[in-house]
Symmetry: C3
Subunit: 206 residues, 3 copies
């Protein structure tokens, strides 16, 4: 497998993880199977579509490359046939989601850098890619987005991962090892924060 194939494979895993979160939310809200498919698409593909629309470089990947739909369809069916259930696998799913978050912030920043954006915009677009799909999932389902609420550390490691990716890209040292290393750090922060119940300070200091 080439590097591109590895990256595509990992991105498809991230899309699957986010799509599962969408289909599970649809199940919890009592939506029908079509709503589940649409919410899984929004969660899994929304961040990337947002990134590509902002980069203004033609049709978003999620539409141009049909393969992206496979993890979305698999996720929807896995929830439909109860292969994945809310009440089990909680940590497995959170780990999947953390993988998605990590991969999307690294890939988002890489793609933004390749498109010629400045460092600040590169970092921002990495974060947007990582948290955009989840935010759209929650907004569409009429819930307060998880990224806003003080129940865990979610967007902060995405900021960190996007910043580290941008820094290594600007220093011209970014490569597959950095991509994997940064991703692992993002995943570790997210998972340790979950286990230990870490929280980010509130919007107003006390």
């Amino acid at each position: 497998m080439s590097v591109v194939q590895v990256l595509l494979a990992i991105e498809l895993v991230g899309t699957f993880a986010f799509a599962v979160s969408g289909a599970l939310l649809a199940a919890r809200k009592g939506f029908d199977i079509v709503g589940s498919l649409l919410l899984a698409s929004l969660a899994g593909l929304g961040g990337g579509v947002l990134r590509d629309v902002i980069l203004a470089q033609g049709v978003p990947n999620a539409f141009a490359v049909p393969m992206y739909l496979i993890p979305v369809a698999v996720a929807t069916l896995a929830v439909f046939f109860r292969l994945i259930r809310q009440d089990r696998l909680r940590w497995t799913l959170l780990a999947f989601d953390a993988v998605g978050l990590a991969m999307f912030c690294v890939m988002g920043a890489s793609i933004a850098h390749a498109a010629g954006l400045n460092p600040v915009a590169t970092m921002l677009l990495g974060v947007t890619t990582a948290v955009g799909g989840g935010a759209m999932r929650d907004v569409a389902a009429n819930e307060i987005p998880q990224i806003f609420t003080p129940h865990g550390v979610y967007a902060a490691p995405a900021f960190l991962g996007a910043a580290a990716t941008t820094a290594t890209l600007e220093l011209d040292v970014f490569n597959g090892f950095w991509a994997v290393g940064i991703s692992l750090v993002v995943i570790a922060i997210r998972m340790v924060a979950l286990k230990r119940g870490w929280r980010v300070p509130l919007a107003v200091w006390r």
Copy 2:
């Protein structure tokens, strides 16, 4: 009238139907007339704007062609002056909405195909065009989108219509007759499903 004029005329009817649904929702939520105009715009034009932004081919039609605003303004005024009321004309409005749904999925897929998208993306963009405006209308009004809820068959016929349009386009047999035929089938499925109370399975199989 040329074919283009016929298509434009039918699209304006679809825009009107969706815009009415936006203005009626604004009335039900107690919004003011400006909010009604904005919600009618979102419902009537949102799906097409989303389609055009994803296709990345310049300024969306709804902004480039001022004529699209006429059905939106007429719908808002018709609701304001009680010419259209929630408690009457229910079936007329549902029929209008079904016409909009049908026309938008066929036109959305046609425009996506003309832009050179692959068959899967063509179908997806047809569905996005058909259901996007209604979804944005509901999200903006802080309601759970109708397309997610199991109270009827809505997105499914749009999927079918977009798939049929894409198939006939790929087979190079699509023409005005197919456009009308597919639209009539979509409308029929939507209306029969409403009359008979058909439902799509839930997100989790029982």
Copy 3:
């Protein structure tokens, strides 16, 4: 200072005002500091990003020009350290917000005109720029958008300001004096309407 610098300075003030409204809403909803930063970004930069995506002229300003992030960060920190509080400065903030509204509808219409849009689209995009950020802020926080509700006159002066800007641009008489004059009228209408409790008619005439 050149005209461009003056315009940029005033736009940054408008961004700051809208960003404060986002951070204050985050505080009221109990979001964390990262959520506050994201909501402030959406409120302060969302309208301009929407405008630039619709104009389809490359990467939106908010991403291409890092300076736009400064007022967003300052607003988030000012709310975090209680330098700006909901319970004080109410009229100061409303005045800031009115300045943002006025500047954004004038600048939005100017940019749309420079991009070659027709007069109707120019006016529409001015309104979209002015009210888009606030609408996205409220939708993301799971609130009914303020622009829809009959608690004041908000979108109406933006419509007026965008229309006046478009008219003077079409007549080829628009300049810095018109920009300032139109802005002052928009601000005056907004503030007088607030003081006097003016309301726009509801979506259905009584």
